[in-house]
Point group: C2
Chain length 132, copies 2
């Protein structure tokens, strides 16, 4: 199961462009191996890129993503190192929980609006369906 990918292959699978992958590499977020000059991506690279893309969807910059990307990929080194990892992890959890609250609030408001509008339409005897 240790598939290897070319840029275009992996890019296609993850629905990004090869340019994007090279860009992430430029920024140090991934370091694919090379066969000669040609980039070769492993399963691990793929995993990191998926994390990057999820981070982006959540609105983080590549710089921020770079900062916590390594958390996923620690081998137990020295105790001091692990302590740092722990604190970073906790900080990141806090940040994400804050976003979660933003999201929850927004969703609640929108659900409120949804039912209000539904009720309005129902009171008009209008079907809530239709309308693109």
């Amino acid at each position: 199961m240790n598939k290897l990918y070319s840029v275009t292959e992996l890019a296609a699978e993850l629905k990004v462009t090869p340019r994007a992958l090279r860009f992430y590499e430029d920024k140090g977020l991934i370091v694919p191996q090379r066969a000669g000059k040609t980039r070769v991506y492993t399963h691990r690279d793929r995993g990191r890129i998926i994390l990057i893309l999820r981070g982006k969807r959540l609105g983080f910059s590549l710089r921020e993503i770079a900062e916590w990307l390594d958390l996923y990929d620690q081998d137990p080194g020295q105790v001091e190192q692990m302590r740092l990892t722990l604190s970073k992890t906790r900080k990141r959890i806090k940040a994400l929980e804050a976003r979660q609250r933003d999201l929850e609030e927004t969703l609640q408001e929108l659900r409120g609006i949804e039912t209000a509008v539904e009720d309005f339409l129902k009171s008009k005897g209008a079907d809530a369906e239709a309308a693109e």
Copy 2:
């Protein structure tokens, strides 16, 4: 309770720069009144800006935010209009729920990492605390 604000006042309260507020206006996200040439912001403007900022924290572009901002601010007009509002609202809810799943996954992974690292430190007889 109908306080009015100047750019700098409101900007300070919301922790953004006046430039940002003018920029949002430029993009049509807010339309403060004017006293002569001077911008005057109402409570309603303030509310909209808070929504904008929350949207930004969730990683949406100003263009996207602009598209759903009016949902919060509909007066029941014609039935057709409301139907459209309903469908837009539902789309937006879907999008936010998707982000919620991203967030939930990420949090779960990080919590996994957190306890793993905690256990590692515990096994080393090291205190999980300390380390900035």
